[in-house]
């Protein structure tokens, strides 16, 4: 499987947000726990809407949650 050209800090942000679980985050974003796990591990590229919703939960701008790691970044 090709690696996604971006990483994320969701795991850290969850920890800093009172050790929020993947299930809690998924519930607040409107996706399953497994989808949050797949996003965290860089296995699944979320839609822009879900990415914004995740950032909104942590009260951060999108670029503080996801960072571009591909070419031309």
């Amino acid at each position: 499987m090709a690696r996604l050209p971006f990483g994320n800090d969701i795991r850290t942000l969850r920890f800093l947000a009172g050790e929020m679980t993947q299930g809690d985050l998924g519930e607040r974003v409107g996706v399953t726990r497994q989808t949050i796990a797949a996003i965290e591990q860089g296995k699944y590229s979320p839609s822009l809407e879900v990415a914004f919703r995740i950032a909104q939960v942590f009260g951060k701008p999108l670029e503080d949650v996801f960072r571009w790691e591909g070419d031309g970044g």
């Binding site: 497994q34 797949a38 591990q41 296995k43 699944y44």
Partner: protein, 140 residues
Amino acid sequence: MSFREKTHWAALAGLLLGFGWYFLTYPWSIVGTPAGVMAVAGMLVPVTIIIIAVMAATAAFFAIRAPKEANLKEDERERTIHIRGTHAAYYPLVLGVWANIIAIFYRLSAGEHLNLLLATVVTAELVRVGSQLYFYRRGY
């Protein structure tokens, strides 16, 4: 493992059990006769019951154990997995239809055509469910 992935495993088990039994026990010696056609119809009843029973029992079991998870709506990743699996199943389906069209020119019996069609549908279903399970396991 999500509720939907579990129901997919149940679907795979139901398909393998139901149609495994069908293709292993079908009376191939009478496939070219009218009785062979009736055998297809008769054997599809227990096959349908097996598949429905396996899926219903599994869904009920896991829904009782984790009702919250069972009530979750399909999210975007699951929808994508669903679409990709259905897309993968399109190819064996088309190949099977062409095999049936070609078989017409070889004057196959109605029973043989029915079984070829069934094999096409079962193969496409196995590819659909199998590829969806692969995507679930891989994460996407």
